[in-house]
Amino acid sequence: MCQVDEEYHDHITRHDAPRASTSCVKCKEACAAVVVRVGDAYCRICFKEFFTHKFRAMLGKTRLVFPGEKVLLAVSGGPSSSSMLALVQEGLSQKAHKKLRFTPGIVYIDEGGAVGLSMEERQKTVTLLQTVFKDTGFPFYIVPLEQVLDLPTSVLVAMPPSHRPSDTYKAAVHHFLQSDSSVCVTSAEQENMASVETSHTLALQRVLSSAQTLTARDELLSTLRQHLLVHKARTEGYSKLMMGDSCTRLAVKLLTSISLGRGAQVAQDTGFSDSRYGDIITVRPMRDYTAKEIAFYNHLFNVSSVATPTLDTKAGDKASIQRLTESFVTKLQVNFPSTVSTIYRTSEKLQTTHRNTPPNQNRDTPPDQHGDACLLCMCTMDASAEKASAFQATLISEELSVLKLHDAPTPNQQRSASVAPCSSSDCGRETNDGRCCSSDQDAAVTDFRALLCYSCQRTVKEMSSVKSLPLYIQSEAQLRHRRIQMKEQIHDFLLEDDDDDDDD
């Protein structure tokens, strides 16, 4: 009996002991500090090496960021983007093993106004971040989100790539190295945040609060933020925009996107690179890191991050689709530690096939693209589904229910508002009237929706009025709408100007 007991004892201790004082799986010497994956415990030093290597490997493997290229880092102050900033800084420093060779700049979008923070609180955050940014020595821009209200309509148009996408990586590198020598680094530091007028803040809050659900508000905010980032990158001459989305974040985003009806755009929304804006390419170099790795890195190596409240701070699990998805993923992750990586690996393999992409080379002329990009998210339109689809069925049932409610507007006007050609006299009026030709508000909404992808239509539907959207979006919508109308009016006189562009 005694012996049996002893054997058991042995068994148990052998099983349990490694947990308490595991040594690092890599160097097998130092005491482990971080469990990266189940069973893979790293010590401090090996973890740091693993962490920094991954960043360089990600950029090296994808071969998208060229030496000498100007790259704008979007830093929100949160853990992930702060960590990205630290990695870039480390990678550019002289002591780095394999130096990164691009030219970084930092942009911070101050969303305090949207969340309802006071001016003092916002200034406090900005001051904190300024000290961090100054230490890096990179040029930085601090932009209040309010500036989104003054954006030009050109933000909503995809630009042709500033340089020809070179056939080979080598050629591209050469291109950048050559142009680099002429450009001296202008330290255009915008130290002080441009002063924000209260009226602007209120206007921004009105835009966001016109969306009735937190889900829609969140989507709207990220759309506006994205527009401002792209605008900033364009005006300051950057060609890449680095976002700090972590693997965990992207896993949540993937499932959220699908729930929001963005299935067709998921590949662009979560992939490593995203070229929907044409000239500005968004890259996500942090997509190999889990939130846990980032949190540990920041804590162990004193990377300071500033927690700023977001729209959904302190909100319950069921406050929005984004929130619910996040809690679903993190809860699942507790018992199934490979949840995030499984979702993430899936997202890597996703691709969108562009059904409508014309095979010709004409795509880089901006006017050609207006037709097939969503006005808000700039993704390829997916709303042109066939007749017998669930999407059409939803539309019809919506139409019918609207009809019952109002009973006044004719179904014809509702359905084909975007298709029906209007008389030219009406069209002339539309500029001063600020609305599309039909005076009916509903029709204006329908017109507007025709320019959006399915998911953005859902978001706009949650808004009390399309009119509350920032001006640049509205005027671009009018422009596009007029263009569509004009095309339809002259349609009969055109010689075969359909999709298949056969040269005349």
Binding site: R19, A20, V34, A291, H299, K314, A315, E326
Partner: protein, 109 residues
Amino acid sequence: MLPACGDNMAAPVRIILEFGGGAELLFDGMKKHHVTLAGQEQPWDIKQLLVWIQRNLLKERPELFVQGDSVRPGILVLINDADWELMGELEYQLQDQDNIVFISTLHGG
């Protein structure tokens, strides 16, 4: 270490608690707390600590910090700069001068 049987009271435990990644917003924005846990018969473990935090420090919305016996999924726990998974998680027995860090990895804290 086996729980000490008998009547010897464990001495009070002084520990440093830190909250980060947005978790501090639930504690009035205070990141660092020096606290002393009164001596009790059984040594303090993390499970008891969580209850203590909930009673004494947490200002609002306890469900955003604890769920059931443990911390809310998405909040990391570090014991003396090491992953709590290596230290026995909820069963870890607090020592004097321990440093316990809670970091929220959730969006918006």
